[in-house]
C-alpha cells in the first residue's frame, strides 16, 4: 500500500528530527528540527483522515509557537556554546528521572491494546464538522472553561510584560 510507505517515511522523519533536535549543537537547528517533527506528525493526522487536526496542528505549533521560539533563540543569540558542564548530581538525577519516565511509558503501553486502525480514511472524527459537534454539544462546558483559561494566561502574559508598575 502506498499509504504504508508514507507512514514509514513520516515516522522515520519524526524520529530522526526528534533525535536530531536533542543532538544538535546550535539551538536554532534544534528549533528547526522540532518544527520538522511537528510537520511529520501533522502528516500522520492526514493519514488518519483528520485534516482539521493536521492543519490546526501546523498553524498552532509550526506557525505560531515555533516561530516565537525561533524569534527568542535568534534574538538571545544562544549560538555560542556557553553551556557549562553540568555537575554529576544533575546528570545522575536526569538519568533517574528519564528512566522513571521510561518505566511509566512502558507500563502505560503494555496495558493498552495496540491495534491497527481499521479503514482510517472512513473515520470522520477529525473532520471539522464532527469535531465542532463534539466540542460544542458534548463537551461544551469544559471547552468554554479552557478557553477562559487561555484568555487568563494571555492577559497574565501581557501584564507581566508591561514595563510600568500597576
Amino acid at each position: 500500500m502506498f499509504t504504508n510507505y508514507i507512514f514509514y517515511f513520516l515516522s522515520a522523519l519524526a524520529l530522526y528530527s526528534g533525535v536530531m533536535m536533542l543532538l544538535s549543537k546550535k539551538p536554532i537547528h534544534s528549533v528547526l528540527f522540532l518544527t520538522l517533527t511537528f510537520f511529520a506528525i501533522g502528516g500522520h493526522y492526514i493519514l488518519l483522515n483528520a485534516q482539521f487536526l493536521a492543519i490546526v496542528h501546523i498553524i498552532v505549533y509550526a506557525g505560531a509557537i515555533m516561530v516565537l521560539f525561533l524569534f527568542t533563540v535568534m534574538l538571545l543569540n544562544l549560538n555560542k556554546d556557553e553551556r557549562s558542564p553540568k555537575p554529576v548530581w544533575v546528570k545522575g538525577a536526569a538519568i533517574i528521572a528519564g528512566a522513571m519516565l521510561g518505566m511509566v511509558l512502558i507500563g502505560v503501553f503494555r496495558g493498552y491494546d495496540l491495534h491497527l486502525v481499521q479503514h482510517p480514511m472512513e473515520s470522520q472524527i477529525g473532520l471539522v464538522k464532527e469535531l465542532g459537534r463534539i466540542l460544542y454539544r458534548d463537551y461544551m462546558l469544559p471547552f468554554e472553561i479552557s478557553s477562559i483559561l487561555f484568555l487568563t494566561a494571555m492577559v497574565g502574559a501581557v501584564l507581566l510584560g508591561k514595563k510600568e508598575q500597576i
Binding site: 546550535k26 528547526l32 518544527t35 485534516q51 501546523i58 498553524i59 509550526a62 516561530v67 473532520l127
Partner: protein, 337 residues
C-alpha cells in the same frame, strides 16, 4: 485522473511562474508611468523580453556566500520561501468542472474541506524562509530585517484570519469550492462583507511585504533587509516569490470576496461546459489581474509606514475592527434565522 491532476498542477505552477515573471515587467512599466518615464523598452517590442533578460542575468551573476554564514540554512532560506509561495495554489478553484471524453474533471487540485485553514497554515509558515535566510546570513541588518518581517507577518496574520471568520460564518463551510459556489452571479461576498474585504486587503499587503508595508527591506534603514547578503539566483528567489505571493493572494481575494470565477449573466450565454469553464477562468484571471494592478498602484503611490505606525495599525485598528465585524455578522445571522 492522476494524469489530469499532474498536468493541471504543472499548468497552474507554470501559470503562476509566468505571471510572476511578467508582473515584474508590468510593475516596472507602471512605475515608469507613475513617474512620467517610459520604463524598460529595450529588450524586444515594449520590453517584453525584459523578464527573460533579468532572469538570465540573475542566473549568471556571481554566487557569493559570506563565510560566516550557516551554509545549509543559507541555502534553505530562499528555497523554502519559493516552495511555500507555490504551495497555496493547491486549494484555489480555478474554474468550474470541465468535461473531457465524458469524464468530469475538477479545475481545483485538492477540494479539501478545510481549504481556508490550509491557506492560513501556508501563510503562517511563510515566515520561516525569511527568518532562516535572515539569520543564516549572520549579518545584523539581515537579522533585523528578518525580525521585522516576521513580526509584521505574525501581527497581520491575526487580523487576516479574523476577517475571514465572518466569511466562514456566512458560508458555513471552510471549503473554497463551497465559498465560491455561494457567490453565484453577482452575489459576491464583498457586498455583504466590505469591512472584512478591506481588512483582508490591507493584511494581504502586509503579508506579501509589499509597500506601504515593505519595512523588511527598507533601504534607508536596513541596507537591503533580510536579503542583504544574498546574490545571484538566491536573491532572485526571494524577489520572485514576492510576485508569486502577489498573484496567489490576488487569487485568494478574488475567490473569497469577488465571487471567484462567477460573473453576472453567466447562465444567459448558453455555452457548452468547456467553453463555459474557459470563459469563467478568464473572468477569474481578470479579477486576479485587477488585484495585481491595485498592488502596484499602491506601491507607487503611498509612502512607507513607520514601524510603530505599522504595529499600531495592525494591533489597535485592524484586529478590533475584525472582531467587531465577526460580532456584527453573528448578530445578523442570528436575526435572520
Amino acid at each position: 485522473m492522476i494524469l489530469f491532476k499532474t498536468i493541471f498542477a504543472s499548468a497552474v505552477l507554470l501559470l503562476s511562474l509566468v505571471v510572476a515573471m511578467y508582473s515584474t515587467l508590468i510593475e516596472r512599466k507602471m512605475a515608469g508611468f507613475f513617474q512620467d518615464r517610459l520604463g524598460p523598452d529595450r529588450a524586444g517590442p515594449w520590453g517584453i523580453f525584459q523578464p527573460l533578460a533579468d532572469g538570465i542575468k540573475l542566473f549568471f551573476k556571481e554566487e557569493f556566500m559570506p563565510n560566516t554564514a550557516d551554509k545549509f540554512l543559507y541555502i534553505l532560506g530562499p528555497s523554502l520561501t519559493m516552495l511555500i509561495a507555490c504551495l497555496t495554489s493547491a486549494v484555489i478553484p480555478w474554474g468550474p468542472d470541465i468535461v473531457i471524453n465524458g469524464q468530469t474533471y475538477s479545475l481545483q487540485m485538492a477540494d479539501v474541506n478545510i481549504g481556508i485553514l490550509y491557506i492560513f497554515a501556508i501563510v503562517s509558515i511563510g515566515v520561516y524562509g525569511i527568518m532562516i535566510g535572515g539569520w543564516a546570513s549572520n549579518n545584523k541588518y539581515a537579522l533585523l530585517g528578518a525580525v521585522r518581517a516576521s513580526s509584521q507577518m505574525i501581527s497581520y496574520e491575526l487580523a487576516m484570519s479574523l476577517s475571514i471568520i465572518a466569511i466562514v460564518m456566512m458560508t458555513g463551510s471552510l471549503s473554497m469550492r463551497d465559498i465560491v459556489n455561494q457567490q453565484q452571479g453577482f452575489n459576491w461576498n464583498i457586498w455583504y462583507q466590505p469591512l472584512a474585504f478591506l481588512i483582508f486587503l490591507i493584511c494581504a499587503f502586509a503579508e506579501t511585504n509589499r509597500s506601504p508595508f515593505d519595512l523588511p527591506e527598507c533601504e534607508t534603514e536596513l541596507v537591503g533587509g533580510y536579503h542583504t547578503e544574498y546574490s545571484s539566483m538566491k536573491l532572485g528567489f526571494y524577489l520572485f516569490s514576492e510576485y508569486i505571493n502577489m498573484f496567489i493572494s490576488g487569487a485568494v481575494m478574488a475567490t473569497l470576496f469577488l465571487g471567484g470565477y462567477h460573473f453576472p449573466f453567466i447562465d444567459k450565454l448558453g455555452l457548452s461546459p468547456n467553453a463555459f469553464a474557459f470563459v469563467s477562468f478568464l473572468v477569474f484571471f481578470a479579477k486576479i489581474t485587477f488585484f495585481g494592478f491595485i498592488f502596484m498602484w499602491v506601491r507607487w503611490t503611498l509612502p512607507r509606514f513607520r514601524y510603530d505606525q505599522l504595529m499600531r495599525l495592525g494591533w489597535k485598528a485592524l484586529i478590533p475592527l475584525a472582531i467587531l465585524n465577526v460580532l456584527i455578522t453573528g448578530v445578523v445571522i442570528l436575526l435572520n434565522q
